[in-house]
Assembly symmetry: C2
Homo-oligomer: 136 residues x 2
DNA sequence: TTTACTGCAAAGCATTTGCAGGGCG
DNA sequence: CGCCCTGCAAATGCTTTGCAGTAAA
């Protein structure tokens, strides 16, 4: 579709390709500086927004309100602890086959999906028990 | 587990039960007022945080940064447009069976999961085409 | 020249936190 | 009497926006 890309968009995209993992806009801004590709924070956000609309970039918003950006082709899902916020990547993805189906049934042009499980990690389950034991 | 619930927590939980759909903390605050169950906004947030830790309440954070809360038992997933932000509820959930498996393989105590597809809704696909035609 | 992109700084908004008052055990 | 809960208001942090300068077509 819209292939008109600004230089900033290309630079952001290039960095995302190199990183191969999700990163926040703020962190992206820092990383760009370190690579002598200085650009304003607002421009980072604007570039990400455009790339998102194209479907080139996908977003995962943490419960902290911070968003992590990555290339759309990645199909990585998470197991997230509601207590400490730590995330573990999981290999399984039983959902992919559903996309084409949804395209037809809901007339949606699907770019990507997110799948995330929430609960308590092992460490926090133990901490939970400890605190219960301690206070009664 | 920790069954000690404050009055505020109970009131929040009661409202969530009545609503049976996800709602933001801000909106929850307003709704409580309307029902003569006035409580400070900070208390709403603190109650939701506690309920979340228990696993009684689940959260879905929108890309706007706003979070929507609902009872954990609901298993509702979404098709979200990255352009206009509209969400459609989808009936399918091919993931449920995975939870018990993950509990064992990753030692996670899973409360719930979120599954969300992102792309362009029909309306925005059309708008996209229009804008391309218009500008060249 | 005309339009679109960029940087900077200010503004916006949801959420969190400090602190003092109040309720419950 | 002591501790936890609560409200209010201030603070925080990510993201967005207004505006003027700049680069590109």
């Amino acid at each position: 579709m819209k292939t008109r890309r600004t230089r900033s968009q290309i630079q952001v995209l290039d960095l995302l390709k190199q990183l191969k993992s999700a990163i926040s806009a703020q962190e992206l801004y820092v990383q760009l500086r370190q690579r002598q590709v200085s650009m304003g924070l607002a421009t980072v956000y604007r570039s990400l927004e455009s790339l998102k609309l194209e479907g080139a970039v996908q977003v995962r918003t943490l419960s902290s309100g911070e968003s992590l950006y990555s290339l759309t082709q990645e199909d990585t899902h998470h197991l997230t602890c509601v207590r400490c916020g730590s995330s573990v990547v999981m290999a399984e993805c039983p959902v992919h086959g559903l996309e084409s189906h949804l395209t037809e049934s809901h007339h949606f042009q699907i770019f990507y999906h997110t799948l995330e499980f929430f609960g308590l990690c092992e460490q926090c389950q133990l901490a939970e028990e400890d605190s219960l034991t301690a206070t009664g």
